[in-house]
Symmetry: C2
């Protein structure tokens, strides 16, 4: 068995506390519902956001109990958006497990997501910080506004900034809120909270780029969905966007296929994207964000926890290398 990395071992007990807090808080009078809700939190998520919050919290000397509460809020908010997302995309599988949406009716899935939003907000309020609470509600707005835009707009712009705006709303905003909130709860000075904000932002951008690369390079079994699923759903991500910037003729064909709802040359396109240099270029961009993010930790003194936080962040790159 592969040994867990040391950055994981340091927070393992706290992560268990986060999971326990979440499971306890969502209990209802219905054992059947409890089983389904519990599955949402025991189906092998990486808990990357709680991991970051907990290591950052230790690095900053925050009160552990409050960071556990914050982590519960963040992880539940993340899960709630996934539940509604699965309904919106009609996904039947996530991480290889069937989604709630595949078992329950849309109505029940809406309610389950709403319930997790409500409970997430309760945990956020339990951090006893108005600033955290405000950030939390603003981040929910940003995420949902991003989803509405993604749902309504054609997601086929070749502008890099449009892609960055999308992944900020979808992912980096919550990473950013995780790092700022940890700083606030630790009583970190404003100038340093600003560094934490940029750290969270950059790491979040990198994580989403890595996920978008994995959508092309991953195994179908691990992904729980077909390779190139974003492209198949007409959504451009960094690899396809970079590819099309150099292949305008194929881009025109792609747009034409999109309009006629045809899958057209998608399989060929995915092969071309995998064969060329855009995957490597995308990974380089993720690396740039990670190193840029880690530079913002220079503002803080060296410590075991800082070292492990760096290790955790760099470890994310191994998923695509």
């Amino acid at each position: 068995m592969k040994q867990k990395p040391s950055f994981y071992r340091i927070v393992q007990k706290d992560i268990q506390s986060v999971e326990q807090l979440i499971i306890e808080s969502i209990q209802m009078d219905r054992p059947d519902v409890n089983i389904l809700l519990k599955q949402l939190f025991t189906s092998g998520g990486k808990r990357i956001r709680p991991n970051i919050a907990l290591l950052l919290g230790k690095m900053l000397g925050a009160e552990n109990r409050r960071i556990i509460t914050l982590s519960s809020a963040i992880e539940m908010l993340h899960t709630a958006t996934l539940v509604h997302d699965d309904l919106i995309d009609n996904s039947l599988f996530r991480r290889g497990n069937t989604t709630l949406n595949a078992i329950w009716t849309p109505a029940a899935t809406v309610l389950a997501g709403d319930y997790l939003f409500a409970k997430a907000a309760e945990h956020a309020a339990n951090t006893d910080s108005l600033v955290v609470m405000k950030l939390f509600s603003q981040t929910l707005s940003i995420i949902v506004r991003g989803e509405i835009t993604q749902f309504l707009e054609k997601n086929n712009s070749l502008e890099l900034q449009d892609y960055y705006d999308r992944i900020y709303a979808k992912t980096a905003s919550l990473f950013q809120t995780t790092s700022i909130s940890t700083g606030i709860l630790a009583g970190t000075a404003p100038a340093e909270v600003e560094e934490l904000k940029l750290f969270g932002h950059d790491i979040g951008m990198a994580f989403q780029i890595i996920d978008d690369v994995l959508d092309f390079t991953g195994e179908q079994q691990t992904l729980g969905k077909p390779i190139g699923s974003d492209l198949r759903n007409n959504i451009l991500t960094l690899p396809s966007l970079l590819y099309f910037q150099d292949h305008k003729k194929e881009y025109k064909q792609f747009i034409k296929d999109t309009k006629s709802n045809g899958q057209g040359i998608r399989d060929v396109l995915i092969q071309n994207i995998l064969a060329g240099s855009v995957i490597e270029k995308s990974i380089d961009q993720a690396k740039t964000f990670i190193h840029q993010g880690l530079n913002h930790l220079d503002a803080f003194p060296s410590s075991e926890f800082k070292t492990e936080l760096k290790a955790l962040t760099l470890d994310s790159l191994t998923r695509v290398q």
Copy 2:
């Protein structure tokens, strides 16, 4: 034209501020979406919760700006739950207007509701009160848990307490949070906040009973749905519950029809409920709650605003008389 009652005229300008604050806060970069979202707040809602908060706030000497913010949060939360409710019940009309769900896809309706939840939470955080924020998130949990229970359970218990539990979760909990929060923001002493809590609870219970009576006695055109729609959807409310308590044979037939998904004798049942004394008994119960609620205002000195708040509360009874 019928003149607006004086309790309305006192808060009319503030209600406009609440509506303006809501509309401004939900603006997106998409004019088409803005029009649809705006419709949700301009389709003739009674703004009963903001009305109560604003009159209570004036009675207690609260800072008006904060009560306007609170009212926006409460009204948006209420509207968000209606948006998702319409999806869950597949309603196509509400207050005679088509619902978002009838125009948009389920996915878009989920997102619109989530967006309003997020914005409601932002307004709640903007009251700058941790207590209000906590109450707000707890109330959202209570409402959603109530919806989950209503969705999963047979709603045909003849126990009065089961009905009261349901309408507490659905309606009275938010009225209660409205009155407590107004007290908190006004700096009211804890013992008096307790009176405000009971006032909000009782008034909320009364309002839901009145709505449930109107479901039988209202005009189909005003209701925007068929008369007796709750009973047709197998949900017992106070009138049908009281009727069945005295007509066990018809209750057995109703349960049988429910199981076979038949509408069976529903039309006859509705006529019988309207012809008997249970409508009057239900109205009496609403009156009892209203007077019980108003008694809790005895804890506060007489004032113009208290008089108008009483008038507003009693006015709700005129809807069924």
